[in-house]
Amino acid sequence: MSANAAPTIRVSGLTKRFGAVHAVRGIDFEVSAGEIFGLVGPDGAGKTTTMRMLAGVLRPDAGTLSIDGIDVARDPEKAKLHLSYMPQRFGLYEDLTVGENVFFYAELFAVPRRERVARSAELLHAAGLEGFERRLAGQLSGGMKQKLGLVCALIHTPRVLLLDEPTTGVDPVSRRDFWAILYRLRESGVSIVMATAYMDEAERCSRLALFHSGEVRHCDTPARLKAAMPGALLAVHAAQPRAVHRALAGLPGVLGALLMGDRVHVRVDDAARRVPELETALRTAGIADARIDPAAPGIEDVFVALLGTPAG
């Protein structure tokens, strides 16, 4: 991350209404070259609307929005030369083959022929789509479709890459390929904005914007967001995590309790003082097999701690 360079994306006071619904309420953020900027938040928090405004396909009602110094709201067509956008819903032609889709997007961005051939070979290889050039896009698996989307988005070497939940419904192997490509892009100085519902992906972002009801409530690196989380986090392991959650939620000193599969994350104001109290409460509830350990917070915990609601 080059801190001194001017930010590639500047968003300030960005606002969008749909009738009575205030989808985005005056948000601000900046993204530098070589950053992966994550948009995290529950459905309906305004992530997709923000993405669409960045992509120049939706007009903001108020605020400014610039990409490489180009005002996206005023001159979206100029900005579009430098950006690539992958919508949440698969946006390529299912009745065209892999190769035809790549060719089409390369032509729309006037990629020179030789560059196109070399770049598409390289990208298809990185995406694990080599040998699938003649297959119809509609006959690819979910993960392959998303990787093809990324290949088409990158065929013209954009300066800004906008990805709206690109790995939703994608298998782990494809997600790994996907991220390998993103890391390489970051190295080459591309600014990536990515909305994600996966907390493990949020952890990998350079910085995160936590969206809630159309606002960016917090915006920082994952590490600093975690450091800013009030209280201490404890993990309670037990055979019956739901019973643990019932027994502990709402006790004095318990700031939050979050069910995490086989365990419960409990955030308390003071770990040293509260652990014995929690143990007592568990015994009273008849839970004998519980084990309490200090835990490192994940983004999900941070989100709940800061916003009082789960992110996904």
Binding site: M86, P87, F104, L108
Partner: protein
């Protein structure tokens, strides 16, 4: 506008047309089906209409007249009757549409007075068919009259008129064979082109909205004009192929005489295609569902073309208000041009008014279409 992006759009669209069975069916199969349905079904012609004959005289002359009814192909003589009661019965029982009665003194009356009449009784429950049948019978009788006249003239060495008179009726113009098909089929071509053209393009933009490909497309530098032309040009080619097939069927299958100029026909067809494709495109841009768009396209093209273009109902017989309305019914210009070219050998100069009408509409529609599409979601 970048030629490269335009070609990319056209190429993509062409691939999609070729791979979409629905588009292909509309493009290639529907015109043939409609040509068959409308060409035969809407035809006001009659073929092998059953008639009965009561030939009271049964002479060589009357038998030759009766055989002409049979030979023309329009009628088939199903029964020969032998009494006036039989005529009534045959009509009542629906055994024939018309009964022809030749009086017992037919030849004698004709020879002595130079005029004689044949009685024809029609079953008027099917007014249309009986009217048409009447016209055809009169046509045949007129032919007989002409022959009698010629023969008389030859025998007496002087030119005579009014010698053989068996109910002579005024003839028809431009359609001497009395084939209503010649009048109808060129109009059918217009109906089919209007239908197919608007159907094809009505799906093209709404499909992108429906499938979610539009959101990504509008995030690229492609311009609205490139999108429009990239979609219209491939379908224009398809439309012209359809037009060529329909017009070829008109001439070679339905035997409608072609008397005009091929270039004028091409120009008019190209203009008309542009108008209907543009209308379909505009609908498609506004209506983001394929089904709704194609329904609206059907409504907008089918109704004016069939009802107000003069294709079935002559415009000059409509009330004045409706006649005025037909001025904005674009298919009327094309129907007028087609009939002019096919039946009257009209030249470019003869047809300047309807051609100008089409030019105005083509410019208007393409201009509106180019402004209809915005690269935005809202």
């Amino acid at each position: 506008m970048s030629p490269r992006r335009l070609f990319a759009m056209m190429y993509k669209e062409a691939l999609q047309i070729l791979r979409d069975p629905r588009s292909l069916a509309i493009a290639l199969v529907m015109p043939l089906m409609q040509m068959g349905l409308l060409g035969y079904g809407v035809s006001l012609d009659i073929k092998h209409v059953p008639i009965c004959v009561y030939d009271q005289e049964n002479s060589q002359l009357t038998r030759s007249i009766v055989s002409r009814f049979d030979a023309a192909g329009w009628f088939s003589i199903d029964r020969r009757l032998h009494s006036q009661a039989g005529v009534r019965h045959a009509i009542d029982a629906g055994e024939c549409i018309a009964a022809v009665v030749i009086p017992v003194d037919f030849s004698r009356t004709l020879a002595s007075t130079g005029a004689a009449s044949i009685q024809a009784v029609f079953d008027a429950t099917d007014v249309n068919t009986s009217n048409i049948a009447q016209g055809y019978l009169q046509g045949i009788v007129a032919g007989v009259n002409a022959e009698i006249e010629t023969r008389w003239s030859a025998a007496h060495g002087v030119r005579a008129s009014g010698v053989g008179r068996i109910d002579l009726q005024p003839g028809t113009w431009f359609n001497e064979t009395l084939d209503s098909r010649n009048f109808i089929i060129p109009g059918v071509v217009a109906v089919i082109l209007a239908l197919i053209g608007a159907q094809l393009t009505s799906l093209t933009v709404s499909r992108e909205w429906e499938r979610g490909t539009m959101e990504q497309l509008i995030s690229t530098p492609v311009t609205a004009l490139e999108v429009m032309l990239g979609k219209l040009i491939p379908y224009f080619v398809v439309g012209m192929i359809d037009a060529a097939v329909c017009l070829a069927l008109t001439v070679f299958w339905f035997d409608v005489p072609f008397r005009g100029n091929l270039l004028t026909l091409f120009a008019a067809t190209a203009l008309f295609s542009l108008v209907v494709l543009g209308i379909g495109y505009m609908i498609s841009v506004r209506i983001r569902s394929q089904l709704a768009a194609s329904q609206i396209a059907l409504l907008v093209t089918l109704l004016p073309t069939t009802l107000l273009s003069g294709y079935t109902f002559p415009i000059d017989q409509m009330p004045r208000v409706i006649q005025a309305i037909t001025l904005i019914v674009y298919p009327r210009y094309y129907v007028t041009i087609l009939r002019g070219i096919f039946l009257k050998a009209s030249t470019l100069f003869d047809l300047w008014q309807p051609l100008l009408g089409l030019v105005v509409f083509a410019i208007l529609i393409v201009w509106l279409a180019s402004r209809a599409f915005h690269k935005r979601l809202d």
